[in-house]
Symmetry: C2
Subunit: 431 residues, 2 copies
């Protein structure tokens, strides 16, 4: 079953689907060549939005949670991809240290951690959990909804290595996005593989740098397919010094919003799209769906209410917002039982291993769906994104649509790879 | 659902299952280290037999057909493994030339070829079919049961490269086991990847060399797990000059059968197994279930009837039998609806990508099931061999049993890797 695409204007994306299917071997080869030059992030999830006239990634997560939302049928793919990843990074590895987020009372998040432990154990590693939380001073047992439990242990930092009591890992895998800053305990670990690298964390990473890289990737890909890159690329601008409480930087914000809405309007006109353009203002280092607002007119910024100001000022782990990205809004026209839906694509190493729909009954087509009340529907992605069916009517076949989403997800992952290379603090000495 | 294991004596294999599950990360790491030293065959299928007291591979196929017997759910794993394989061999490849068997009227076989085309197309290659059959002098369309069709084209051999009209492949993949001998058209192709290599074909390969290598692998693995290698290793002997029609070599055969039955009897005594030992005599270069007979007493060999002599004298593609392997018989005690069943494990590159049960209603527990009338049941292998469930009762959990079968299949694949290295005609100049 494919979620219903409720827009009359789905021609451009149905055409894109057809072109992607026809070019499948060329696309796969193109990715293969890109991965010869660039290293994929260890694991990635990408939020994609399908407007019928445009299909674009809107967020790329390098510390993906939500593995528990994948179906059991998808897990063998994740295990196989994890095997391939480990083989390249540290084939002799026995031990993997997994560092989760600190919010250990969230049973959804813990189930995600349980799933990651399962994947990497099955890939042939002894997996244990080490916490960045200073309150974890002894091994702590966390009960899981299925009746089993996880044990989180305090990290033990030696001069050159990080581990747990009686546990010296070859690789340290972060499932913690470091929004709160880079902890000293993770610095200068030159003997062990720390994945993803520290500069992938939100203490350093910026969405605008990601979308800079994505623009480059989208242009290359669009050239390969002979299409307008705008069809897959959300335009954006940025403001470097914004304070929603004091109003500092509001001019910059209004100018950018105004300019971007104008650009979108021209594109809509070019394609005959009868929609009202909108933009999304986001914290440039934000995650967890925090620090996001939808703006349809620059004037709205002049009188933000207190609630919105508060929402935009502080994000995950209490970090203040002072840099923002202003991104072209891509409405999502997919519906599951009348609720707005957006696909999320999961990748491990260079492989698409699954995905699901994030569905929100109380949100609009132009709003962020990563918010309390969201549901996760792992439907047809399950067995199909690897097996498109050429010849089927564009837009009507789940395998074909999901193959296309897998391609877009991988473009965003490739952009993350470019982004991490550009931001690598060691790049100049290493190359 | 796990097929019923109809033997009171399943203690040793239930214990093996438990030990394999407990040692999972160590086993996966051991394979990882082996694959650092040895190259896996491109693709492999392995017939496994479970006697309850013993679990062993009995045949390892390096040109596996039967991909059509895997479920659609397993295909994404095959595609992902094919991507990994291609990336290592020829990442810049655009074109893959697939060389199938010549029996193009067998719709089951053609469906297998169709499935392989699908897998490699999806992995990002333009796939076309080239025939070794001299009767194929122009592109020939072959109808498939699902209403679609395949096109088989004549091979075009240049001085240094093999291809088709307007098609120059980077890699040539054989799905033809070369039982009829090595065709001149495949020789001296040093510019292209020919997979599997020529010495993997039955014109060169010998089962006894494979089981020599398997014995070495089984001993290493048994040492890792602290167990008797006999539990997973079928004993064997060989006779190099046998003519079933003239009676030549009958002494050798009788002596080996007698000795082997004696050895098996001693092992049965050691384990308290109340079974009558038997051996299987097979053409040392045989395939397709041809040239195989079950022997319970060496005396049976003295008066073989004409039908048996004929059956043992000529195998696939009309090749005469003059070398035989005498292998310890491993009864299969798995049952699907009262029919005898044996698992077949499918691998691509180093990954287990699926499997099925070969089920034969008219055959006994000590007979070859690869015979007309066999059925294929792709059951629980589907989603489970990657996801064992530690803690479940040994012998009762499908994922656990299939994980064990995947381990045994990979041991046989590793043995094939050793075997191919030992037989490589270029080995001495290359290393």
């Amino acid at each position: 079953m494919v979620p219903h695409l409720i827009t009359a204007l789905n021609g451009p994306i149905n055409e894109l689907e057809q072109r992607i299917l026809e070019s499948m071997p060329a696309i796969e080869r193109w990715f293969r060549l890109e991965w010869m030059e660039h290293t994929p992030p260890f694991y990635t999830s990408v939020d994609v939005r399908n407007a019928g006239f445009k299909l674009a990634p809107v967020d790329t997560n390098l510390f993906p949670g939500g593995w528990n939302n994948l179906t059991p049928q998808m897990l063998p793919l994740a295990v196989q991809a994890a095997m391939a990843a480990i083989e390249k990074i540290c084939p002799e590895a026995k031990n993997l240290l997994l560092v989760p987020e600190n919010h250990t009372r969230n049973s959804f998040y813990l189930t995600n951690v349980q799933r990651l432990v399962q994947i990497f154990t099955q890939a042939g590693l002894n997996v244990r959990l080490g916490s960045l939380d200073p309150n974890v001073t002894a091994p702590t047992t966390l009960p899981l909804p299925d009746g089993s439990e996880l044990s989180v242990e305090p990290l033990i930092r030696g001069k050159r290595r990080l581990g747990l009591k009686d546990f010296d890992p070859c690789t340290i895998l972060l499932n913690n996005d470091l929004s709160a800053g880079i902890p000293a305990v993770l610095e200068n670990l030159h003997e062990q593989y720390l994945l993803p690298p520290l500069h992938a964390g939100w203490a350093v990473r910026r969405k605008s740098q990601h979308f800079d890289a994505y623009e480059e990737v989208a242009k290359k890909f669009a050239k390969l397919l002979g299409m307008d890159p705008w069809l897959i690329n959300p335009m954006f601008g940025r403001c470097g010094k914004v304070d929603f409480q004091s109003g500092e930087g509001q001019d910059c914000l209004q100018t950018h919003v105004d300019t971007l809405i104008g650009k979108v309007r021209r594109k809509y006109k070019e394609y005959g799209i009868q929609e009202k353009p909108f933009v999304v203002v986001k914290a440039d280092n934000g995650t967890y769906g925090m620090g996001i607002m939808t703006v349809r007119d620059a004037k709205e910024l002049a009188d933000l209410n207190r609630r919105t100001k508060n929402k935009m000022s502080v994000i995950k782990d209490g970090q203040e917002v002072n840099e923002v990205i202003i991104q072209e809004g891509v409405p999502t026209y997919e519906r599951m039982n009348d609720a707005v839906a957006e696909p999320v694509v999961y990748m491990m190493d260079r492989y698409v291993v699954g995905g699901f729909y994030r569905v929100h009954a109380d949100r609009g087509i132009d709003e962020n769906l990563n918010a309390p009340g969201a549901q996760f529907v792992p439907l047809a992605f399950a067995e199909s994104h690897h097996l498109p069916r050429p010849g089927e009517k564009p837009g009507a076949s789940a395998p074909n649509r999901f193959y296309m989403y897998g391609v877009i997800g991988r473009l965003a992952m490739l952009a993350a790879s470019y982004e991490l290379e550009a931001q690598d603090p060691q790049a100049e000495t290493d190359y």
